[in-house]
Subunit: 520 residues, 2 copies
Amino acid sequence: MSESPRMTRRALLVGVGAAGGAGAMFAAMGALGLAPDSQEKSFVPPQPSDFSLRGRGAAKVVILGAGVAGLTCAYELGKAGYDCTVLEAADRVGGRNLTLRGGDRLVETGGETQTVEFEEGTYFNAGPGRIAQWMVTLDYCRELGVPIEVFVNNNASAYVHTAGMATPVRARAARADVYGYVAELLAKAAHTGALNERLTKEDRDRLAEFLRKFGDLGPDLTYRGSTRRGFETYPGVTGGVRDGRPPSLTDVLAAGTGRAITMDFGYEQAMPMFQPVGGMDAIVTALAREVGHDRIRTGTPVTRVRNLSDGVEVTHRDGVLRADYCVAALPPHLLARIPHNLGAPVTAALRTPVPIAAGKLGLEYGRRWWEIDDRIYGGITETELDITHIWYPSYGYHSRSGLVVGYYNTGPDAVTYGGLSHRDRLNRALTEGGKIHGEKYRRELRSGVSMAWQNRPHIEGGWVAWPSYEGAFALLQRPAGRVYFAGDWLTHLVAWQAGAMESARKAVTELHRRVLQTLS
Amino acid sequence: MSESPRMTRRALLVGVGAAGGAGAMFAAMGALGLAPDSQEKSFVPPQPSDFSLRGRGAAKVVILGAGVAGLTCAYELGKAGYDCTVLEAADRVGGRNLTLRGGDRLVETGGETQTVEFEEGTYFNAGPGRIAQWMVTLDYCRELGVPIEVFVNNNASAYVHTAGMATPVRARAARADVYGYVAELLAKAAHTGALNERLTKEDRDRLAEFLRKFGDLGPDLTYRGSTRRGFETYPGVTGGVRDGRPPSLTDVLAAGTGRAITMDFGYEQAMPMFQPVGGMDAIVTALAREVGHDRIRTGTPVTRVRNLSDGVEVTHRDGVLRADYCVAALPPHLLARIPHNLGAPVTAALRTPVPIAAGKLGLEYGRRWWEIDDRIYGGITETELDITHIWYPSYGYHSRSGLVVGYYNTGPDAVTYGGLSHRDRLNRALTEGGKIHGEKYRRELRSGVSMAWQNRPHIEGGWVAWPSYEGAFALLQRPAGRVYFAGDWLTHLVAWQAGAMESARKAVTELHRRVLQTLS
C-alpha cells in the first residue's frame, strides 16, 4: 500500500524521537495536533540523552510485580538509566506468562500440589500461548532476540465436536458442509428473485459466481458434498476415496458448528499466530535478563504502599523501600488488598473488575498419535464438552513425544475443574477427550499437569472482566499521586500480553514525561 | 475418533508386512479382499527378509531421473538391497525440488543465464514450496529426519488486490465484508419467508444463529462492518481506531475477491501447511544421502532405452548400462524423445499429457518491510495482476533480510514472463508488485532470481495436464516390458511431490512383487 498521510506523520515522529529523545517528540506531537492517547503505536522509549541534555540523572522507581507489565516497565525505564527495583511476591518472574517443564512444582492456594514430570524438551505454556501479528508482543520478540515460530490456531484437519453431533467430524468437513448449504440457499433465493429489490442483475451474477466458489456448488447451484470435506483415502495414484456424503441441511444446522467455524475470524485470533521457540517464557526470561537480575527481588510480597510528599514508600517482607515513583503492576484484586494511602476511590476502582477463572491442562504423550494416526499437525479441536478445546502442539513436529492441551476453559467450567484435585481433573478431562480421540487418549498418556489460575498464589485469576470502560477503568489510567498502575487489565487487550506491554508503555511514557517536566 | 474397521484392517496389514515382508502382506491383502489399488496408503517397503527367506538376492535396477520419483524408487528399493543406479541428466539431483542459494547458476534452454546473489541464509524454493498434512511427503520427512515448520499459506493480514478494486485491502477486511453481506442477505431472505419451503422453523432459527456469528451481524441482521475488518490503530490502552466503514454490497461484489477468499478451502491447500526447515531440497538431499551418492550419476543424459528378453539396456552419455529392470522417472514429454523399443502406443501415451508453463521469482530484500511496515508474517497476497501471487517468507521471521516470491504464475502469464530476459521479468514484476506495496518494493530490492520451468533444461515444464485419466494415463501405469514409469504425472497429485512419491511407491511395489514371483 502506498504510504498514507498518517503513516508519514508517524514516521516523522519516530524520526524526531530517535534524534531528539522523548522530550522533543512530545513537542512535535503537540505541534502536529496528535492526542496523547494515540501514542501507543508510536512509542519512543526514554533515552539517556533525555537527561544528559539537562545535566541530571534519572529517578528511582519501584515496580510492584514481575509479570509482563512490571518487567516491561523496568526494561523501558532502564533504557534511560532509571534506577528500578522490581518486587515480586512469587519465587519466579513472569506472572501468568508461565511455561512449565519437568521438575517444576506447583502449589495452589488451596494446598493442591503437583510436580511436573515432563521429559526433557517438553514444555507447556500454562498461560498465554499465542501472539497475533499486529501485537506489540512481536516487537518485543524482535527487539529482545526471542525467536518465534507459527502457532497453529486453526487446523482444517482438527475435529469439531458439538452436542448436536453423533460423532466428531473434521473441521474441513464441517466448514465445507455449512458453506455449501449456505451458498446453495442464498444462490437459489437469488435465482428465484427473492433478492431482486436489493440486488441488480449485475450484483446477482457476481453473487452467483462467488457462491459457486464459496460452496463448491454444482451447475444447478446445489451442494452435494465436495472434495473440500476431505477423503477417506486421499488422492494419489488413484483419485482417492471421498469421505462420505454430507449430512442433510437440517442435520448440518442442528450440529451447530458455528463457533468452531468462526473461531479465527476475529482480529485477535486470525491465522497465522505466533509463539516463541522453546516456550512463551522466553519473553520474560529475556526481559528479566535485560532488566538485570539484581534489580528483581522475587519471593518479596509487598505489605504496604504509601505516597509521600516527595516520593513513595513501599514496605515489603524484608524491609522498606523508598523511591521517587512507583508502578503497581499487580492484578487489581490483589492490589486492592494491600494497605495503602491512595484513597478510597482507588480501592473501590481496584475492586471493580471481576476476576475470571481459567484452567489449562497439559498432557504429555510418548507418541504423537495426533500426527501419526489423525494427521493433525498443530491446531485446535473445538468441542462443546466442558474441556472446550484440545490443542495439538505447534512445536516438536515428528519428534517422539509431545504435549497436548487437554482443556483450556474459563468461567463455570474452569471453576468446576479448579475445584477438583489434580487427579480428578485429569481423570475427567481424559474421559471427556476420549469421546473425541478414543481409548488411546487415556491409554497412551505419560503425565499431566493442570493449572487453575484462580488458585494460583499471587495471581488468583485468569484475567479480569470490567463492567465498563468508564469510571474505575478511567480513574486507574491516571496515577494516584506518585503511584502509576499498569497491567493488561488496564487496556482493551485484557488477557493478552500485548495489553500488559501497551499499558506498561503508557505508564513509562507518562512517568518519564513527568520526570522531564520536573527537571526542566 | 475411535478406530474404524478399515483402520484396524490396515493396522493388521502393516503388522503383517513388518513381520513377514511384502510377500506375506500381499497374501494377507488377498485374503481380506482388498483391491491392490488401495495400497498406496498402506505401503510396505521391500525388505531384505523378503529375499533371505528365499535364499536369493535382489535384482539390479536402473532408474532414469534423480527427481523426487526417481530418488524415492531408489531409496525404497535400496531398503531390500536392490542394486540401483540412478542416471540424471542435470548436474544436480532433485529435479523440480530445487532450492536456490547464493552462488547457484541457472542456465535456461534459450541461453538466459543467472547467478544467484542471495546472502548466506537466504534461500528460494523455486519449485514446490508447501506440503499438506495428509501428504506422504511428511512421512518421508519424518522417516528421513528432515525437520519441518509451518508454511503460512493464508494470512488474514496479507492483501487482496483485484481488477475490480481501487486499492488493495487486507484479506481480513475482504473476508469480513463478503461474509457480512452474504450472511445479511441470507438471514433477511430467511426472515421474510423466502426459504420456508426448504427450512423448518427450527432450521431457520439455527441458520439465523449461525449467520449472526458468521457475518458479525447486528441484532437487525444487518452488516455494518466489524472489528474483523481490522483496525487503523489496533486496540491497546484505548479501544483502537477501526479501519473505516465497509464498502457497499455492490462494491464488495464488484471487487470479485472470491478466489482470494476461497484459496485455502481445498484439500490440497488448507491450513496449516508445512515446509522443511532450511529449504525444500532437504528432502532430496536426505533421499540422495540414503540412496548413496555412488549410486547416482548426475550429468548423465540417457540416449536410448531397450527392453531385452532378460533385462533392460540403457545407453547414456558415458556408455551402456544393463539391468534387470528400469524405472523411467523423467517428465513424459522428455521421455518420449528418447529412442526406445517400448512400442508406438507408449510413445503416443507419453506425448499425451501437455506440459504447463510455470514461473516463480525470488526477490531478496535487506529489510523485512512486510513484517515491520505491513505486519505481515508469511502468507500470500492474491492479485489479478499477472504476478498472481506475492508470497512472504515463512522462515527467518524478524531476521535482517528475507525472500519474497514476486510471482508464482502458470499458463499464459508464465509464458509471457518466461519469454523475457531475467532483467525484464524482474522489472515487470517490480512494477506490478509496486501497485500493491508502493515504491519500496523496487527501491529496497537487493537481488532477484527468476525461474521459468518451461525453459529449464531436462525438465521443460512446471508440470503436465492430462486430457483424461483414461487411455494414455492408464496405459503408463503398467510397465512396458521391464520398464516401469513413475512420476507425479502418473497420479491424481500432478505437480505435488506427494504424487511423485506415491507413484514411486506403486512402481516399487509392483516391481518387487514381480521379482518375488519370479523367485518363488
